[in-house]
Symmetry: C2
Subunit: 385 residues, 2 copies
């Protein structure tokens, strides 16, 4: 086997944000040599990688030249130039996940068609080449309100997605290719992270549950394990495995799902990388998702995905009323709470709703963790000087 | 309170070895700005600190100039210039642990006298200014064999310590100040890590047990929790607390102890920093020792010291028959075992018995962890190309 540990082997990472930063804790732990490419000179990955390069992830030549310096190439964000990845694969540089998988995922229309082909249950949908076609369908009545609009490309953190209930809601739709998805009434939003290595070894993490704010339509807590029936959890993990194998995926795949009112599981969408819904694993799991990603893409044996303790994750987003140099108000207060670990991503400036960090709450008793999580949520505030 | 998180606050660390490297995972997690001073250009801390300086930790001016650039100064190794620390304290730079504590600990003769003063149980001892005086005492018969010889200064990783059973054994004794300690027959070697912050908040970690090789006199496993009676464990934790308070210590203090055949607890020696006996905490504890050290020296609330799961640590030392560029033989094999995490410190060259890393084995069932730990020990080998 290739020797990765304290050797001259080089792992390249496209993207130097918080996901890359957390992956670097693991490459440092294993003393694996890393190169990182990111457009920002203040990327959180800048320190603690062995070599940092500033550059555009969508620029063919930049990615090619960066990739040729490494032995295995991966990414922490989907927005990378897949033509460059494909060329690097031709040149014998292992790129995991593959350009082929990424192409299928980058475009939501292609992703949805892929699910149909592979008999993967997903909400009914219709594809439109542009906004005009969609509006015509609404006029004709072949597409009836309400529905969920999703831009085929460029959607991220709630952008490029909207629930269309009224004609007025149609105004916010952007021009390009999109899908209209039927609105499924669901009990729960669930997610399962699947790890798969090139040898085909596959493991799923326990099902996590997104708990939403009672009124505001916003995830407040990611809870592991999900408070659902064992049978439903089994089905969700089986389905996630099926999705990973359908993509012939290598690395982590985060599969977001709906549990419908009659306990059907529908795949919503996937992310081919470590995922926000897996952050709890750093403190709660035997093998956290970032170490698992390193194991998977290097074709090392996969680690135990089960949990040591119950885990809950709360995102730290910039307060809506503040912009400027960040201050984490009451962080000492939450450090006093049991089993609480803040992760500060290292972004110097806060903006309304910007992802600045997250907090993990662990406890042998999940209900107690949930209670503490609420205290955390009510205490800490991301403001500016 | 001072704002440490994504702020202009600067933490200085004297020493850039593996203990510093593991502490930097925590400063990165909290986005605390760090400066590191180390004599080696290849120090494991070099990357992932914000600013690295190469220099001599025992040189007064080097330490002064480094220290003046930071707000709080700490160390990951005892061998630093305490006169410089004392001067920096005068200048208002917080140095934790204090120069005063470090002076008492750097010299084992002073350390032992301190225990006597403070009624801290420790093995009987006699102090000698030099080797000659000790030899005279042996001649006169006022000092009788067997005894444990310890050099007052410079002892490290078994160096500067010897059990003197015969006249021949006296040859290995070095010239300088030393102590002769009575040989205590003990059941167990135990250790307790105590954390204390400037506000006086104090917490002890569970007692760990050093399991020795049946024949070779060498620690094979550090086991948490120690397999001893609850009452004995309580006494050990109480005694460790007393030691920390006696030193008026700030930061972590690792207290190594003997459990005598009649269940007395005697203090052997202490280390005023994160310690090998606490490495298990990264995977097993709610708050690992490195995060706890950061919390303690910054006067943040201390974290929960209890364990999520049972933990066992095995040191990775260079095989006695190899010297050169390191190779970790069978590391994939141990990655296949349940709950196993290797930590590779990043030293490029191995030497016989050099500390190259460690492996943590965690499991909800400590006996199972112990079984896996033995498999790990029998599988992995630190060799050279």
């Amino acid at each position: 086997m290739r020797n990765y540990f304290s050797s001259d082997f080089k792992l390249g990472i496209l993207g130097g944000g918080q996901l890359g930063k957390m992956m670097l804790y693991e490459t440092r732990k294993f003393d694996i040599h890393t190169h990182v490419l990111d457009p920002s000179p203040e990327a959180p990955c800048r320190i603690s990688c062995n070599y940092f390069e500033q550059g555009d992830l969508m620029d063919y030549d930049t990615v090619i030249n960066f990739g040729r310096k490494v032995d295995v190439l991966t990414f922490e964000i989907e927005g990378v130039n897949t033509d460059a990845l494909r060329q690097l694969e031709k040149e014998g540089i292992k790129t995991w996940p593959s350009a082929d998988t990424l192409d299928k995922i980058q475009n939501k229309a292609i992703q949805k068609k892929f699910y149909k082909e592979k008999d993967i249950p997903t909400a009914e949908f219709e594809i439109f080449d542009n906004k005009e076609e969609l509006l015509i369908a609404v006029e004709k009545g072949t597409l009836s309100l309400p529905f969920v609009w999703k831009s085929a490309t460029g959607g991220y953190d709630g952008k490029g997605v909207a629930v269309i209930k009224t004609r007025e809601d149609l105004d916010q739709i952007t021009k390009g290719e999109c899908i209209a998805e039927s609105l499924v009434p669901f009990k729960n939003e669930l997610a399962v992270i699947v790890a798969r290595n090139p040898s085909g070894e596959i493991r799923t993490y326990p099902v996590v549950e997104m708990e939403f704010h009672p009124t505001a339509n916003q995830v407040e807590y990611v809870i592991c394990p999900a408070r659902i029936e064992e049978k439903v959890a089994e089905n969700a993990r089986k389905l996630a495995e099926k999705v990973s194998e359908a993509f012939n995926h290598v690395g982590l795949l985060a599969v977001e799902m709906f549990q419908t009112e009659n306990d059907e599981i529908l795949v919503n969408e996937v992310a081919p990388r470590p995922h926000n819904s897996g952050h709890y694993s750093i403190e709660a799991s035997f093998t956290n998702q970032f170490e698992q990603q390193v194991r998977a893409i290097l074709d090392l044996p996969l680690g135990n995905t089960e949990s040591k303790v119950g885990g809950i994750m709360v995102n730290l987003v910039g307060d809506k009323d503040y912009e400027g140099e960040v201050v984490y108000e009451n962080i000492e207060k939450i450090l006093r709470m049991d089993g609480v670990t803040p992760h500060i991503y290292g972004k110097k400036l806060t903006r309304p709703f910007r992802k600045m960090g997250h907090v993990t709450i662990v406890n042998k008793d999940l209900a107690e963790a949930r209670r503490v999580a609420e205290e955390v949520k009510n205490s800490i505030k991301v403001i500016s000087k």
